[in-house]
């Protein structure tokens, strides 16, 4: 089956992101396809390239990037939720006159319409909320 995941929990604040990642790996191990992970609400913090957790803890940002690299899973981030929380890609940083950016590919800033599209294009959309 083709799956989409909706992640609404901040990394390291709740189990939501960890569970979503493990669920994605379990799906793939069973031969399913994870088309896209959509990050919304505090889930957008997963996209921060500046995350530097202690070395003996799972690095969620890097794990999402590996998921993309190995399985071509798209990593979509709601742009409105991200900007509000101080997460910008280089284009948005320029636009808002900020001196740095925290989001870069494979994460892509996108609109909520993409979440609706995703929900209708996959067989299952599973939400991970705190």
């Amino acid at each position: 089956m083709r799956y989409g995941l909706l992640v609404e929990g901040a990394p390291y604040s709740s189990q939501a992101s960890h569970s979503a990642l493990r669920f994605a790996m379990a799906l793939i191990a069973r031969g399913h396809r994870v088309e896209s992970v959509f990050f919304y609400h505090d889930g957008v913090y997963n996209a921060s390239r500046l995350a530097a957790p202690p070395q003996d803890e799972p690095h969620l940002h890097d794990a999402w990037c590996s998921l993309h690299a190995e399985h071509a899973t798209r990593l979509q981030v709601c742009i409105a939720a991200a900007l509000r929380r101080g997460l910008l890609d280089s284009r948005e940083a320029d636009r808002h006159g900020k001196s740095g950016h925290s989001v870069e590919p494979p994460f892509e800033l996108t609109g909520l319409g993409q979440l609706v599209d995703l929900g209708h294009s996959v067989d299952r959309l599973v939400t991970f909320a705190p």
Partner: protein
């Protein structure tokens, strides 16, 4: 308590958080409005603390949050007219149907499974 006939549509948005104190409700409503703007038929279900969002006369909170009353007024413009609430939660907060800001229908626990099954996409906030 009245039962609700089966409610079907493209997208069901379930709102379980109070209008102030977090951005859950606002971001849930944003998702509903975007889905409607994309031509989807959207059903809203206010559950638990979420029913507080329906209470009349809400203003911006002391934290400077805009609140969601204005967004609720916009629902009709987006053709979102299928608005439902959990009657037990309403009662728990001492609210009655005439205290609500907009017309909404009670959905009892038994009508929930067909409502959820009747939507291709369910988003929970």
């Amino acid at each position: 308590m009245p039962t609700c006939p089966p409610v079907t549509g493209d997208v069901l948005v379930i709102l379980r958080h109070a209008p102030h104190g977090s951005s859950w409700l606002r971001e849930g409503l944003d998702a509903a409005l975007v889905a409607a703007a994309f031509g989807q038929s959207v059903t809203l279900l206010f559950q638990g603390d979420g029913v507080l969002a329906l209470a009349k006369g809400q203003q911006g909170g002391p934290l400077g949050q805009k609140g969601t009353a204005a967004t609720l007024d916009m629902l009709a413009m987006y053709d979102i007219e299928s608005v439902h609430f959990d009657p037990e939660a309403l009662e728990r907060f001492g609210l009655a149907q005439q205290d609500l800001q907009l017309p909404a229908t009670a959905v009892d626990a038994g009508s929930l499974p067909p409502m959820i099954a009747g939507h291709r996409l369910v988003l929970t906030f």
